[in-house]
């Protein structure tokens, strides 16, 4: 089993979510993160001085999945999450040793 971490643009979240739903991936966990990378944050002006943050707000989606489905999910996100401009983000695949559904203690493939 794999854990897929996708760090994407906030503005792409809905598109990615819908694309995943199309391949029947409807369960995942999302969180707000701050991305430090090539792309810089928004410029702001306050009382005559302009400034900006170094990061931009991003969403990280964590998806636990079986080995078979993993490739599918990655390529779906690659397609749906891309704008082609700097700052589209990253997808990482990490190995999972075990996974459990808390509700009924089902394990591994059953739990996803």
């Amino acid at each position: 089993m794999k854990k897929i971490e996708a760090i994407i643009r906030k503005s792409k979240f809905e598109t990615v979510k819908d694309a995943l739903a199309n391949i029947n991936v409807k369960f995942f966990t999302a969180q707000d993160v701050k991305g430090y990378g090539l792309q810089k944050g928004e410029k702001m002006v306050y009382r005559g001085s302009s400034y900006g943050t170094e990061y931009i707000d991003r969403i990280q989606m964590d998806i636990y999945t079986s080995d078979e489905k993993c490739g599918d999910i990655v390529s779906t996100i690659l397609k749906a999450g891309a704008t082609g401009e700097i700052g589209d983000g990253k997808i990482t695949v990490l190995p999972i040793e075990n996974i459990y559904r808390i509700r009924n203690a089902e394990e591994n493939e059953m739990a996803i």
Binding site: M44, V45, S50, Y51, T53, E54
Partner: protein, 413 residues
């Protein structure tokens, strides 16, 4: 009339002016609370500029358009640019109730409220500069002309149309302006989808509640000051009818909203209070306490239906300005023909004529202005700007900094 009473009368109108002024804060906070967090700076900016532009332009031309002295068939007139202090004894002015300056500043505070009503309805998607241009024309030309028809002694006044403190002259005028603008502007992105209505909840409901309390507070000056003297009987009756109508508006909305939506929606009750206040405004000096309760109650019952109705029409109004000011403004003006000491069929007809004529004029005027601005400057922000929020797009500044950036977070320009 003697100096003493003149001083007291004048003082009351001045204090009423102060109370009407704070209604601008009421509108500002109500609207800021009911928009999304990403548009809060923008709506506050608009409100701040409206009062400012409103007062200055009303000084330059509005007041002279509204109170021209002489007019062409009671339809339009213009005294002069700026103010012209009348000759002679100040006590002689306005039947010995207030000075010329008092008259101007009290009226000036009223004028700006019209645009404030519009600002709420077009919130979250209208370009700042276009909005200010439209407001300028609205407050300095359209509002004073229709205002003159009644308060400036124009044709509606002669016909016997009655609108004590402006259910029609201020509120429904603002509401018609709002309606014209939102028709041309369109709804916020995503508000109406093929699946139905997607609510876009306000970001700070407590701020909106503060706004409604402040509006009620200011309304004592709005209605009480419209007595145009400190006459004890008249002003105190107006205080009673105004308060009871507001209270009954809340109660009306409370039960109606709960019956319709099975939920105690605070924003509905807040709108109910405003509906009651707008409703009583046309006849606040004519009604008994019980009649004012009825008028307020009915206004409060109307509100939830009206809000739903405009949403069904896909007329997107984030703060409910059309329901509160337009619908309840019409209701209040009609109520003068139904309840109270002037009630009667012929009065009802006259009221209807006033409502329709002022409505048609205002709607066409604002529609034309917005149409022209749309064709030239554009009236709507881009999809990107709307998504990002007007605060960043037009002001480069968020409304709240939850965590202040430390110095090191900051890249210097």
């Amino acid at each position: 009339m003697d100096t003493n009473l003149f001083t007291t009368n004048n003082l009351w109108i001045l204090i009423a002016t102060v109370l009407v002024f704070i209604m601008h804060l009421g509108f500002a906070t109500l609207e800021a609370g009911l928009v999304q967090r990403k548009n809060a700076i923008n709506i506050l900016f608009k409100n701040v500029m409206i009062v400012s532009i409103g007062l200055v332009s009303y000084y330059i031309i509005g007041f002279s358009l509204m109170y021209p002295g002489e007019s062409w068939n009671g339809l339009i007139g213009f005294a002069q640019f700026g103010l012209a202090l009348p000759e002679g004894d100040s006590i002689g002015y306005a039947d010995g109730s207030y000075t010329y300056w008092t008259d101007f500043i009290f009226q000036g505070m009223f004028a700006a409220t019209c645009c404030t009503i519009v600002s709420g309805a077009v919130a979250e998607r209208m370009k700042l500069e276009s909005f200010l241009v439209i407001s300028l024309l609205f407050v300095s030309i359209s509002y004073p002309i229709t205002g003159m028809w009644k308060w400036g002694g124009g044709w509606l006044d002669e016909m016997g149309f009655y609108d004590f403190a402006g259910s029609t002259l201020v509120h429904s005028v603002g509401g018609w302006g709002a309606l014209a603008a939102i028709i041309l502007l369109g709804p916020r992105l995503g508000k109406y989808s093929k699946n139905g209505i997607n609510p876009i909840p306000g970001h700070n409901i407590p701020l909106a509640a503060v706004g409604v309390f402040l509006l009620w507070f200011g309304w004592f000056g709005f209605n009480g000051g419209s007595v145009l003297s400190a006459d004890p009987d008249a002003v105190s009756l107006v205080f009673v009818t105004t308060s009871l109508a507001a209270a009954a508006g809340a109660i009306g909305s409370f039960f109606t909203a709960h019956a319709l939506f099975k939920s105690h929606d605070l924003t509905m009750v807040l709108n109910g209070i405003l509906g009651g206040l707008v409703g009583i405004t046309a006849g606040a000096d004519l009604m008994s306490p019980m009649e004012s309760i009825l008028i307020g109650l009915i206004a409060g019952i109307i509100i939830p239906f009206s809000v739903v109705f405009f949403d069904k029409m896909k007329l997107d109004d984030p703060v409910g300005a059309t329901s509160v000011h337009l619908v309840c403004g019409i209701w209040g003006t009609l109520a003068v023909g139904i309840f109270g000491s002037m009630a009667g069929l012929s009065q009802l007809m006259t009221q209807l004529i006033g409502i329709v004529s002022i409505g048609v004029f205002t709607f066409i005027f604002v529609f034309a202005v917005v149409y022209i601005v749309k064709a030239t400057m554009g009236i709507r922000v881009s999809v990107e700007e709307e998504t990002q929020g007007l605060d960043m797009a037009e002001h480069d500044m968020p409304a709240y900094h939850d965590l202040a950036p430390r110095s090191e977070d900051l890249a210097v320009k």
